[in-house]
């Protein structure tokens, strides 16, 4: 019998799975406390109180099949949040919340809970954000994909598709009604994503960074969750920008990470993105030495690019792959850090220290055996 991957539906088991991986659902989301009762015990507790990357309060709720009180609890949580949002910073100091940052309710659902989930999403609850977890099994382990449902239309569509699936109709992806004009648009339509929250003081910088991304290539897409954006080109990650507190932290595939504080930082980040793109697209094809010197992330990306790869480059990529490069990206590393990383591991000691290396004529036979 083939067992399909199924997320646990009991509230406790689902919560134990989700609470330990909140950061997988949204960058920077951390659990502060569990079981928050905001309805005088009448409707049951909200599963968790969390802090997002901007320091805002997030009430995490689970939608479980058959939970008749979920809608009422969500409405109650919404009202509670509106009343006491700014007071959380003082009332729950361990949360390290940032006063003035609007609070949110994060509703997490699964396909079996589609009915109650859809009902809650249709309610006019301010600050409600909803996502569903799509479980799958890979390499013997269960993982889940996060699908964000941002608008009432989206939630209605989800409800519709889920209901059809329950009735035995195969759920297929809804075709876009208009012809796509660019890959970015396709990506945006296929992957509904929450709006990127940028600290107000950094909004201009993010716009400048986006403008650079748009001009690198039309196939560059920017995607991610509420506090993180990944910049990629044809499946190769070029860089990443995250909101951390009141700052924007950018890291590129070339291994350089920096705070974006002014336009000069954005320009430098753009330089790194371009370098990563040039290597991924193999536009620096004549400069073998330089390409050998690129960090692994870029090299791996370059070797996986499928477009304009010549036979010779295929061979190079295959050789690199066969070598099993295990080095860390070194471009941003200081010399002292390199020296600190040079400490030998037990495996290396073991490989060097076998008697064959110091023995006499026996060495040859022993080494030949090792090599075979």
């Amino acid at each position: 019998m083939i067992r399909g991957p199924v997320l646990p539906q009991l509230r406790d088991s689902l919560w134990s799975l989700v609470s330990s991986r909140l950061d997988c659902i949204e960058s920077g989301l951390t659990l502060v406390l569990e079981s928050l009762d905001c309805s005088d015990g009448e409707l049951g507790p909200v599963e968790g109180l969390a802090r997002d990357a901007a320091g805002g309060v997030v009430l995490v709720m689970l939608a479980v099949e058959g939970d008749a009180l979920l809608s009422a609890r969500a409405l109650s949580a919404g009202r509670f949040l509106a009343r006491v949002n700014d007071s959380f910073a003082l009332a729950v100091p361990e949360g390290n919340f940032c006063p003035g940052t609007p609070g949110r309710i994060l509703l997490i659902g699964t396909e079996p809970s589609a009915t109650v989930f859809g009902e809650v999403c249709a309610l006019p609850i301010p600050g409600l954000h909803a996502c569903t977890l799509e479980p799958f099994r890979i390499a013997g382990r269960e993982r889940f994909a996060v699908c964000w449902i941002a608008t009432p239309q989206d939630s209605a569509r989800f409800l519709d598709v889920a209901m059809h699936a329950r009735d035995g109709i195969e759920a297929t992806e809804v075709e876009p009604t208009e012809a796509a004009t660019s890959p970015a648009e396709v990506a945006t339509r296929a992957l509904p994503q929450p709006e990127f929250v940028v600290p107000p003081a950094r909004a201009r910088l993010w716009e400048a960074a986006l403008s650079i991304c748009e001009r690198i290539d039309s196939a560059v897409i920017v995607h991610g969750d509420r506090f993180s954006r990944t910049i990629s080109w044809n499946g190769n990650v070029l860089g990443n920008v995250r909101t951390v507190g009141g700052d924007l932290v950018a890291s590129s595939a070339t291994g350089v990470a920096r705070d974006l504080r002014d336009l000069r930082d954005v320009r430098r980040f753009g330089d790194q993105l371009l370098r990563a793109f040039v290597h991924c697209a193999q536009l620096d094809i004549g400069n073998d030495r330089d390409s050998d010197q690129q960090p692994n992330s870029v090299r791996t990306a370059a070797s996986s690019t499928s477009g304009a790869v010549t036979a010779g480059n295929d061979r190079t990529a295959a050789t690199r792959h066969a070598v099993g490069d295990r080095r860390e990206p070194a471009s941003g590393e200081t010399l002292r850090a390199s020296l600190a990383e040079s400490k030998l591991t037990p495996e290396e000691y073991s490989a060097l220290g076998e008697p064959a290396s110091v023995a006499g004529p026996i060495i040859e036979g022993s080494l030949a055996k090792d090599r075979s």
């Binding site: 536009l283 295990r326 010399l335 220290g353 064959a356 290396s357 090599r371």
Partner: protein
């Protein structure tokens, strides 16, 4: 220093500008081939090999200079039988220029002696390393081959001098302690973007096979764990005559040219000469000063 690629400027075509701005693959000015002699453990025979190979390369018609960068514990001048008036201490102290510090040894190669027993030289700062980079650049303009006798170990100053070279001759013994220390240096090199090629010289081997077997083991470990290929330069046999030589005696290659050790040294000289010729045919885009300054900035 990062290049301004003009990505913040409006309009199309900045990618074209980027590609146009890429430095053309032109050889830099005729500069000496820089070879560093390094080891993880002390006492493996770096200075012995440096001096003898310098003499061998000089005999083959190359203009050779040895720079003793074993800061504070230098002894290449003793092996050359020279007594230079000025040393690295005067150069880095700003008292003498590189041309004043440069001396000629009785056996042909020129020498920049390092200071011996001077503790301040063991703690050089970035400013001193920049002065050294400039001095090496000046030497590289005047000579064909620049041999750097580096300090043992993984001190940043030592590593900067190693990374300034185009080739590094890793000198080791077949002992496990020397092997593991040599591998630590190789591992550190493997993490660098711009790094020299690694040539392994095994000193004090008791039989001909031991050198190759030592290389095989180190090469396999280096390839497997550090993904860095190393090349075999050769081996020098254990010879009591080496340690019994006294001050004032000529280096092995000249004093006992017929012995087995000298034959092995000549083999190393030949292999190294081939590397030098290869490097002169395909020089890199950056000179020794630029390579060294890059490392000093990363310090």
């Amino acid at each position: 220093m990062e290049l301004d690629l003009g990505v913040d400027r409006p309009g199309r075509g900045f990618l074209r500008r980027l590609l146009r701005r890429a430095p053309p693959e032109q050889p830099c000015r005729k500069e000496a081939t820089v070879i560093a002699f390094a080891s993880g453990k002390g006492g493996t025979g770096k200075s012995f090999l440096t001096t003898n190979l310098a003499i061998g390369l000089h005999q083959r018609g190359l203009r050779v200079v040895v720079v003793d960068c074993d800061f504070g514990l230098a002894n290449a001048h003793l092996l050359f039988g020279a007594n230079p008036r000025y040393s690295m201490q005067h150069l880095l102290g700003g008292q003498r220029t590189i041309h004043e510090v440069l001396s000629t040894t009785p056996f042909g190669p020129s020498l920049v002696a390092g200071g011996s027993g001077i503790s301040s030289l063991a703690e050089l700062g970035a400013k001193h390393m920049q002065m050294l980079a400039r001095a090496l650049s000046q030497l590289a303009d005047r000579f064909d081959v620049l041999l750097i006798d580096c300090a043992a170990g993984l001190a940043p100053q030592s590593m900067i001098t190693v990374l300034a070279a185009q080739h590094v001759v890793m000198v080791t013994n077949p002992e496990i302690a020397a092997l593991t220390d040599a591998y630590a240096v190789i591992k550190c090199l493997s993490r660098q973007i711009e790094r020299p090629t690694v040539q392994l010289a095994v000193n004090r081997v008791t039989n001909a096979q031991l050198g190759r077997a030592t290389y095989d083991r180190l090469s396999e470990v280096s390839r497997r764990f550090a993904s860095l290929p190393i090349h075999y330069l050769g081996a020098v046999p254990e010879d009591p005559a080496v340690s019994h030589r006294r001050l004032g005696q000529a280096p092995m290659l000249l004093g006992m040219p017929e012995c087995e050790t000298s034959s092995a040294l000549q083999g190393l000289v030949g292999a190294l000469e081939a590397k030098i010729l290869e490097t002169r045919m395909f020089p890199g885009a950056r000179g020794v000063e630029a390579r060294m300054l890059t490392q000093i900035r990363r310090w």
